[in-house]
Amino acid sequence: MTKFSLLDHELVPKHEIMSEGELKSVLSKYSIEKEQLPKIKVHDPVIKEIGATVGEVVKIAKKSHTAGEADYYRLVIE
């Protein structure tokens, strides 16, 4: 059977692992610590798919009714 990529589904928004620099600028923009970001579990299928590890932050380009597209950041946790 062909393996489907989770990310190809239209209901799954784009997830990508953020680089150190990117993360730093986001944290300073909101003046928060990493722990104050929303969380996502490592067991989450999409996290497995993109291969993020605990402690990394993923950037999610979520579709939005109001804004068209909105960026979310989630910290990967246990």
Binding site: Y30, Q36, L37, A67, A70
Partner: protein
């Protein structure tokens, strides 16, 4: 402060346990041995129930334990040594279970070691995942009480029976509390763990009381009556009883009284201790006061609606508030509330005496409490309160100095909060300014009914008088009615014209109304417009007249420019806008209504585009003024023409009636045809539907169409001169459907969206044949409300009507609970200045409020037409230059 540990942010656990006799004695300030309270001089007796070691409530005395004064001393527990142990009623259930689960001789839990180990393992497992162990523990008890021979000492176990309220019988013989306690004492620690108890915090024998904690006097304060007599709290009375019996018990036992008397006294002691905890235990008569009133003991203080939790912690009574019935007063501004004089005389506002207001305050004090803008209390700088009376008012007016405080009665212009329950959104509590009026109801402008969801069929509302300058400022800036005209729910006005306001302006502004100068001033009088523009034209006799549109323009701000389709718009394929043949496109230029009819879309609550535009373009104050003027203008306008509705307005011509009957007859035939093809199995099922569903749907559809057709026929015979049509079209009240039902045909009655099917087997009523699928057998009402329903129709109508009532009742309770859960989950989220939404820990929930950072209140009905409007207004300006 360095060695003070930081306050933990989150409570990780709370531990509950039983209190051991040792602990009770340790925390006790003194043993209580006498049942007396005060000596002849009125001083508390040592080791009595009011001992000053237990805290003080009388001013002037000092607590012997903490040397605090009344108010500072929190109170301290005492204790009573019980002569014989008694059962604590609260633990009856566990005592019974434990007695059955433990050996009568060696006290071990009646399970073999392997079983015990098995349950212990399970218990630790359950604890680890954080589940409640209740079910598991119940199983332990169940298993243990099944065992008839003790696996440790081979003793045969006897049947334990529990008798209300506090008696235990073993094979018919009474177990004394002493015996029970002995058994529990011998249960080894490891066995206690098996039944889910923690031997360090809750030894089972502690459920049998040997020493009783005496609550501090602050918990049971005595009150001094006017006669100087002291009246003790119910708990004190109960404690007196306990001590008396305790003493008698001891005397009798020491004197070697017969066993029978001892047992009686023991039972009596048990009764008193039981009722001390809970005076509503079934099986015993409640302890009563001398007057026959049942005593309010510990559990009664906590339980129920008036109890500590629901009555004192979750909800409290508030000062400076009033509640009465509401009634309408269209002469008030929407920002005002009419307050009855009797309420204004009781509610007060504190004013500090300054050089600027001292003379005015003296006038209030001299007015006393009886003449309206008076004063009720005066506060000296040391905090002493002096009531203003008819006798001392002259004195007080002389005496007040700067920095004193006067509690002045509520008067015109004061800011108060006004509220109607259920408070579902922020517009349920708004700030109004007071207008003191005669009579006994709160008065409010009917235009502010929608945000409160109020009507005048007996609704009551609450009012709160604000007490500080800060709160008044905050309320005035944030909570005033005019600041809440626009709802954050949809970015439109929630306050506007209702009912007659809409009909009135519709009648005024439609067609070419010719209005004489006299009439024009009459209509505009209340709206405070004192000049008329140039007349529209002159009639045959050369007398000038004005149009309704001109009159309405007088209350519009001069800078207003807008164009929008009215409610009466028939949604043509191509909108001709200003050239609309139905006068259904409103055009306002420089504050002049040039084209279009004013109706719900222009000035209605929830829909009114004019209020919205005025508030967003000019100010909320201008918006409030517009609503005030508009409502007054509308009322005068509707009174000029008059608008009434009677049964004759539902009349339709004979030929229309015939047409309607024809339509209904055709529909009936069509239904019969459908049924026939269904019975002949010729009917094609719709995709994804069974045959039965298909026929039902087709019939419903046919009949629905038929009803609409009859409505159209009736409608075509009722023109815009019909007041019901005026109201329905302009959006003032009612709908065309209501009209159809009154004049033409009521239509299909439904239960859960289906035709009525319940009743007898195969039929709805005995009047029909079983299996009849026809329209009249399943709740189609051919009649109109005017013509009257026949008995079967009437019955079906009642079925459908009842479903509506049940639905509303269920929906309100369900949506109320849904809202409560949402509010509880979201209540401490906050939008920060950087537009992030965060919780109290600073964890981000949304990176931008609503993902677009838009305040819904400032959006235009949440529709993106702001850009076009801005472009148009800029272009207009440039064109003008």
């Amino acid at each position: 402060m360095a060695n003070v540990p930081p306050i933990p942010k989150r409570i990780s656990a709370i531990k509950f346990g039983l209190m051991s006799p040792k602990e009770v004695r340790k925390m006790s300030a003194t043993p209580i041995i006498t049942a007396d309270t005060y000596d002849d001089d009125g001083f508390p007796i040592d080791m009595g129930l009011m001992d000053t070691k237990l805290g003080v409530i009388d001013p002037g005395l000092r607590c012997k334990t903490c040397s605090g004064r009344a108010g500072e001393c929190p109170g301290h527990f005492g204790h009573i040594e019980l002569v014989a142990p008694v059962v604590h009623v609260g633990f009856n259930k566990i005592i019974r279970k434990l007695l059955r689960a433990s050996c009568r001789k060696c006290s071990r839990i009646l399970l073999d070691p392997a079983q015990k180990q098995h349950f212990m393992d399970q218990l630790t497992a359950v604890e680890e995942i954080g589940h409640r162990p209740d079910d598991l523990i119940n199983e332990v008890y169940k298993e243990a009480s099944k065992v008839k021979i003790c696996p440790y000492c081979n003793e045969e176990q006897l049947d334990i029976k529990f008798e209300k309220p506090t008696e235990y019988l073993e094979n018919g013989e009474k177990l004394t509390p002493t015996e029970i306690r002995d058994r529990f004492e011998n249960i080894p620690d490891e066995d206690i763990r098996v039944v889910g108890m923690d031997p360090n915090n809750a030894r089972p024998e502690w459920m049998i009381l040997t020493v009783l904690p005496v609550p501090p006097v602050t918990v049971r304060p005595s009150i001094t009556l006017e006669s100087g007599q002291r009246s003790e709290d119910d708990l004190t009375h109960k404690l007196v009883d306990i001590i008396r019996i305790n003493q008698r018990f001891q005397e009798n036992r020491e004197a070697g009284a017969p066993q029978l008397i001892i047992e009686d006294l023991w039972e009596l002691l048990q009764y008193h201790v039981t009722t001390f905890f809970d005076n509503s235990v079934s099986g015993i008569p409640p302890a009563r006061h001398r007057s026959g009133r049942p005593l309010k003991t510990l559990s009664q203080r906590l339980k129920g609606k008036e109890g500590r939790f629901r009555g004192s912690l979750s909800g409290k009574r508030v000062n400076f508030s009033a509640r009465t019935v509401i009634s309408p007063d269209p002469n008030l501004s929407i920002n005002e509330v009419g307050v009855p004089i009797p309420i204004a005389r009781i509610l007060t506002v504190p004013i500090i005496v300054t050089p600027r207001n001292i003379e005015q305050l003296k006038v209030y004090i001299l007015n006393g409490t009886l003449i309206h803008p008076g004063a009720n209390y005066v506060f000296r700088p040391d905090g002493r309160r002096i009531k203003v009376t008819e006798i001392n008012k002259e004195d007080l007016a002389e005496k007040i100095e700067y920095s004193w405080m006067v509690e002045r009665q509520l008067k015109d212009g004061d800011i108060v909060l006004f509220n109607r329950q259920p408070s579902l959104h922020k517009m349920s509590i708004m700030a109004h300014s007071v207008k003191v009026l005669p009579n006994k109801t709160f008065r409010l402008n009917p235009a502010v009914c929608p945000p409160y969801n109020a009507d005048f069929d007996g609704d009551e509302m609450n009012m709160h008088a604000l007490q500080t300058e800060e709160s008044r400022a905050e309320a005035k800036i944030l909570m005033r009615v005019q600041e809440n005209i626009l709802s954050p729910r949809f970015g439109g006005p929630i306050i506007g014209g209702i009912h007659d306001h809409i009909s009135g302006l519709f009648l005024l502004t439609r067609f070419e109304n010719r209005i004489s100068a006299k009439d024009a001033f009459d209509i505009l009088r209340k709206a405070k417009a004192h000049e008329l523009p140039d007349p529209a034209s002159h009639d045959e006799n050369g007398i000038p007249y004005w149009t309704g549109k001109q009159i309405f323009s007088q209350i519009l701000p001069e800078s207003l420019n807008m164009g929008f389709p009215a409610q009466v718009c028939s949604h043509c394929d191509v909108c001709q806008e200003e050239e609309c043949p139905n006068d259904a496109y409103v055009v306002i230029r420089n504050g002049n209504l040039l084209k279009g009819t004013i109706d719900e879309a222009a000035i209605g609550a929830f829909k009114g585009k004019i209020q919205e535009r005025i508030i967003k373009d000019i100010s909320s104050e201008a918006g409030a003024k517009f609503i005030d003027d508009m409502t007054k203008l509308a009322i005068r306008a509707i009174m000029r023409t008059g608008l009434s509705f009677g049964i004759a307005d539902e009349d339709i011509p004979k030929e229309a009636r015939i047409q309607i009957n024809e339509v209904l007859g055709k529909a009936e035939d069509a239904v019969q045809n459908l049924i026939r093809s269904y019975e002949n199995k010729e009917l094609e099922p719709l995709p994804g539907r069974t045959l039965d569903e298909t026929i039902e749907m087709s019939i419903m559809q046919k009949l629905g169409k038929a009803r609409d057709e009859t409505g159209n026929i009736a409608d075509s015979h009722m023109g815009l001169e019909n007041s019901a049509v005026i109201m329905a079209r302009s959006g003032a009240r009612g709908s065309i459907l209501n009209l159809t039902q009154m004049a033409a045909c009521v239509g299909q009655q439904a239960v859960r969206g289906e035709r009525i099917r319940r009743g007898y087997a195969g039929r709805t009523l005995p009047h029909f044949e079983a299996g009849d699928l026809g329209s009249d057998a399943h709740g189609f009402v051919k009649a109109s409300y005017k013509s009257g329903l026949n008995p079967t129709e009437y019955f079906f109508h009642a079925i459908g009507g009842r479903e509506g009532l049940v639905d509303t009742a269920v929906r309100t309770s369900q949506s109320g609970y849904l809202q409560r859960r949402l509010v509880n989950a979201l209540q401490d989220l906050e939008v920060h200045y950087d537009l992030t939404v965060r919780d109290t820990r600073g964890v981000v929930v949304q990176f931008k409020y609503g993902e677009d950072g838009i305040d819904a209140t400032k959006s235009d009905f949440s529709k993106p037409d702001a850009i076009q409007r801005i472009i148009r207004s800029v272009m207009n300006k440039e064109a003008a230059e």
